[in-house]
């Protein structure tokens, strides 16, 4: 690893939003950590947990305090997220067959589910073509903005 390569890697790292990076290239090995990471990453992070007073609980990784945390690179799956707050329905009407089920192939624009908000039924469409890898919300369950509804394995 040359210094130039390291410099470039640090730049990539800094822009990435991740907290820690470990890299092995042949015999060379690089490990970097963000300033402040690992010690007190957003001490109060996460949605309303009971106040934590137990030291061990502090080790839990926490979300960054700024919006739009970087997506983990581990997966190529695309999440379909709810664009509104409301109630999730997987079928056009009670008792009807669901719009999609796990394993189904979907096309761009295909309706995946309905989110009811203020008595309005909002159809949620696929934005990528692929296969439904997982259904993440139960029928009738309330969902918040940005909540993942389905995981799609893109084609």
């Amino acid at each position: 690893m040359t210094n130039e390569e390291i410099k470039e890697l640090l730049r990539i790292f800094n822009e990435s939003g991740v907290g820690e990076l470990e890299l092995q290239r042949g015999k060379d090995r690089l490990r970097v950590r963000k300033a402040g990471e690992g010690v007190s990453p957003a001490a109060f992070a996460g949605p309303p947990p009971a106040p934590v007073t137990i030291p061990s609980a502090l080790a839990a990784p926490a979300a960054a305090a700024e919006p739009e945390p970087a997506k983990p690179a581990e997966s190529a799956r695309a999440d379909v997220k709810s664009p509104i707050v409301g109630t999730f329905y997987d079928a056009p009407s009670p008792g009807a067959a669901p719009f999609v089920k796990v394993g189904d192939k979907v096309e761009v624009g295909q309706v995946l589910c309905i989110i009811e908000s203020m008595k309005l039924m909002n159809e949620i469409e696929a934005e990528v073509a692929g296969m439904i890898a997982a259904k993440l919300v139960e029928n009738g369950q309330p969902v918040e903005y940005g909540q993942a509804l389905f995981a799609v394995q893109p084609r």
């Binding site: 957003a42 309303p48 305090a65 700024e66 919006p67 707050v85 203020m118 309005l120 918040e144 940005g146």
Partner: protein, 451 residues
């Protein structure tokens, strides 16, 4: 009795409402934007629902998102805090039609108070002293010129739907009236989708004095004394106190009597604030009603012992004022509030960012209302209020001494704050003497905008 209240706000006021709900044993639902995922109102509410991205227009100001959040969480009531949707009559109306109690005045009253010249007329009728000015909207430059000549220059043009200084113009002579009127109308139209403008006599460097009102659903109205908010920079309040050094018991009693009559007449419920200007002769002139809880409400709480947010909630549940207020309401002691903002103390440039060091002052006579914490972020999307620092004393001298002490022990690192400016103000002989007016900062040079 409400089981669950949704708080349609963020920051310190959301936390303030959570405190009031906890004190009453009512469960809470926080709503938050993606920028507030790690904020304390999100943490300390019983439930929290993400309602949209950082931009307020798509989260805290988005009525369908807020209502949906109340629906999926089965809340029975909504507290709007201040700012955002708090004075939005449409929102109050949608709440009602969605079966949610809006914790505030009725949509009709909010609408009335939002139309400044209508509110003026309502107060005028009940004998509340108002500023000389137009009876309603200015219809033409000619009418305006005639009226201004009659009132006497300088005069002030104000947007009927206004707020925050937009659509406002000071007119010092007849020559500039027509063009300034056109400017004000254009600005008002752009800002509020309503170009209506009215005229008032300009009071130069007045004191800003406001009265706290509470009304219940049974036709009872009480006035809980006044606050002085004369330390301002460009119409932004920096320091507030209660009581005012310029209001005598006789004046307080007379205005309170008028206000009780006026607020009963309009059927006002919940908390409201009536803003006045005081001229150099000590006369009060009504300017407007803020139909919501105010940022500076804690100074009134300190001197009356009344929890105003708890009172709002109990009023919304139908309780009577006589059961909410102490048997013999009285003013006791003196309270001062400093608004600690995330801004440079000299340039006033906003200073959002991560707080890397934080120490809150405490001890006798000190109250802090804040949602800030070490490692937390003041997002760039919302207002710059970091904390409200409130000092109480048995008299003004003690309150000032305690405030100075607390400012000395208030540490915020990582961002700039207005703390150094507050220290300078609290040391100034005019402030100590209670010689206040809205020209204080400009006159003393304490807020010189260097650079």
């Amino acid at each position: 009795m409400f089981q669950k209240i949704l708080i349609a706000n963020r920051g310190e006021i959301a936390l303030r409402v959570i405190c009031a709900c906890k004190d009453l044993g009512i469960r809470t639902v926080a709503v938050y934007s993606e920028a507030d995922r790690n904020s304390l109102h999100t943490r300390f509410a019983d439930e929290a629902i993400c309602i949209g991205p950082a931009k307020s227009a798509r989260s805290y100001l988005d009525i369908p998102s807020v209502i949906s959040a109340a629906e999926i969480s089965n809340a029975d009531a909504v507290h709007p805090g201040y700012g955002f949707l708090s004075e939005n009559a449409d929102f109050a109306e949608v709440c009602e039609t969605s079966g949610l109690t809006f914790i505030g005045p009725s949509p009709q009253v909010i609408r009335l108070m939002g139309l400044k010249q209508m509110a003026r007329a309502a107060m005028d009728e009940a004998g509340v002293p108002i500023l000389p000015g137009s009876k309603g909207i200015l219809k033409s430059a000619e009418e305006a010129e005639e009226l201004a000549a009659q009132i006497g220059y300088p005069v002030m043009l104000k947007a009927a739907a206004g707020g925050g200084g937009r659509g406002m113009r000071v007119v010092r002579d007849a020559g500039s009236l027509a063009s300034l009127l056109a400017q004000a109308q254009a600005e008002a139209a752009a800002a509020f989708s309503c170009g209506d403008v009215y005229m008032e006599k300009l009071v130069e460097n007045p004191r800003h004095i406001e009265f706290q009102v509470l009304g219940d659903q049974h036709g009872n109205v009480e006035v809980l004394g006044e606050r002085e908010c004369s330390i301002q920079r460009r119409h932004q309040k920096l320091i507030e106190e209660a009581p005012s050094t310029a209001v005598t018991p006789e004046l307080r009693e007379r205005v309170s009597r008028n206000l009780r009559a006026a607020f009963k007449a309009v059927g006002y419920t919940s908390a409201g604030t009536v803003e006045f200007l005081m001229d150099a002769a000590g006369n009060l002139h009504f300017i407007e009603v803020n139909a919501r809880i105010q940022v500076e409400h804690p100074v009134t709480e300190m001197v009356t012992g009344v929890d105003l947010v708890v009172a709002q909630i109990r009023i919304a549940m139908g309780e009577k004022l006589e059961d909410i207020l102490p048997r013999t309401p009285r003013l006791c002691g003196h309270a001062i509030e400093c608004r600690i903002n995330a801004e440079h103390p000299e340039t006033f440039a906003p200073s959002p960012g991560r707080i890397t060091g934080f120490n809150l002052p405490g001890g006798s006579g000190i109250r802090v209302d804040t949602a800030a914490y070490q490692d937390g972020v003041i997002p760039r999307y919302y207002d710059s209020l970091v904390a409200k620092l409130i000092a109480y004393g048995s008299d003004r001298t003690q309150a000032i001494a305690r405030m100075r002490r607390a400012l000395d022990m208030f540490v915020v690192e990582g961002i700039y704050t207005s703390i150094p400016l507050h220290r300078r103000i609290l040391e100034h002989p005019d402030f100590v003497a209670g010689k206040l007016d809205t020209g204080f900062l400009a006159r003393t040079g304490l807020a010189l905008e260097k650079k």
